[in-house]
C-alpha cells in the first residue's frame, strides 16, 4: 500500500471529509512525525509502536569506487519498535496461513 492508496482507503470510510481534506491530514501527520524525530523526540503510538533514534558511532568508511578511506561522522538513524497489538496481529496472520 502506498501513501496515496492509504489516503483513498481512509477517504472511502469518511462521510464528513473530502479526499482532499484526508490528503492534507495525512501529509500533516507524516510531517509531524518526521519533524518530531528530527527534533530528537520519540513517537509513541499505543498498539502500533514507537519510533526513536539510535546513535551510530563515527567510523572509517571507504569510497566504494576508489577504495579511499573516508572519515564518517557519528549520526542518528530512525528506529521502529512494533507495539504489542501490531506484533500479535501480524504474527497471527502467519499462523492463519497467509
Amino acid at each position: 500500500m502506498t501513501r496515496s492508496e492509504l489516503i483513498e482507503k481512509i477517504a472511502s470510510q469518511q462521510s464528513q471529509l473530502s479526499t482532499k481534506d484526508v490528503e492534507l491530514a495525512v501529509k500533516l501527520m507524516i510531517d509531524h512525525m518526521a519533524e518530531t524525530l528530527s527534533s530528537g523526540e520519540r513517537i509513541e503510538i499505543r498498539g502500533f509502536g514507537s519510533f526513536s533514534l539510535h546513535y551510530r558511532e563515527p567510523r572509517q568508511g571507504r569510497n566504494p569506487k576508489t577504495g579511499d578511506s573516508v572519515a564518517l561522522e557519528g549520526k542518528h538513524v530512525p528506529h521502529f519498535k512494533p507495539g504489542k497489538e501490531l506484533r500479535e496481529r501480524v504474527n497471527r496472520s502467519l499462523k492463519a496461513g497467509f
Binding site: M1, A34, E44
Partner: protein
C-alpha cells in the same frame, strides 16, 4: 521531554486544518489502523517522505531462558521492520547526541 502521541497528532489536525476534535481523533486512529490492517494482510506499506514498513518471516531458532539458561526454541514468526526513507534519514542525521531521549 515527552514523546509524540496520538492525542498531540489530533491536536495538530484540529489547530492547522480546522477539523473538529472528534474528526481529528478518528482520523489519527484510522491512519494507524489502516496501516495495521495492511500489515496483517502481509502487505508492505510505503509512506513516501517517511519510510517503508516491511514484513519478514523468521524461521524457528534456538533460544534460551535468560534467567534459567534452559534451552527453548523461539517459534517461527512474522515481524514488521521499518526502513526509513532517504528524506527522513537525512533529517535525523544531524540531531545532536543530547537529543533528549534520556529523560523521555
Amino acid at each position: 521531554m515527552s514523546a509524540l502521541t496520538k492525542s498531540e497528532m489530533a491536536d495538530k489536525l484540529f489547530e492547522e486544518l480546522g477539523l473538529n476534535k472528534r474528526e481529528a481523533k478518528e482520523l489519527v486512529e484510522q491512519f494507524f489502523e489502516e496501516i495495521r490492517i495492511c500489515l496483517e494482510n502481509n502487505e508492505q506499506v510505503k509512506l513516501s517522505g517517511f519510510g517503508n514498513f516491511d514484513l519478514r518471516d523468521k524461521r524457528q531458532r534456538p533460544g534460551r531462558n535468560p534467567k534459567t539458561g534452559e534451552a527453548i526454541p523461539i517459534s517461527a514468526r512474522r515481524v514488521v521492520t521499518f526502513r526509513p526513507g532517504q528524506k527522513l534519514k537525512a533529517k535525523v542525521e544531524q540531531v545532536t547526541e543530547l537529543g533528549g531521549f534520556d529523560n523521555a
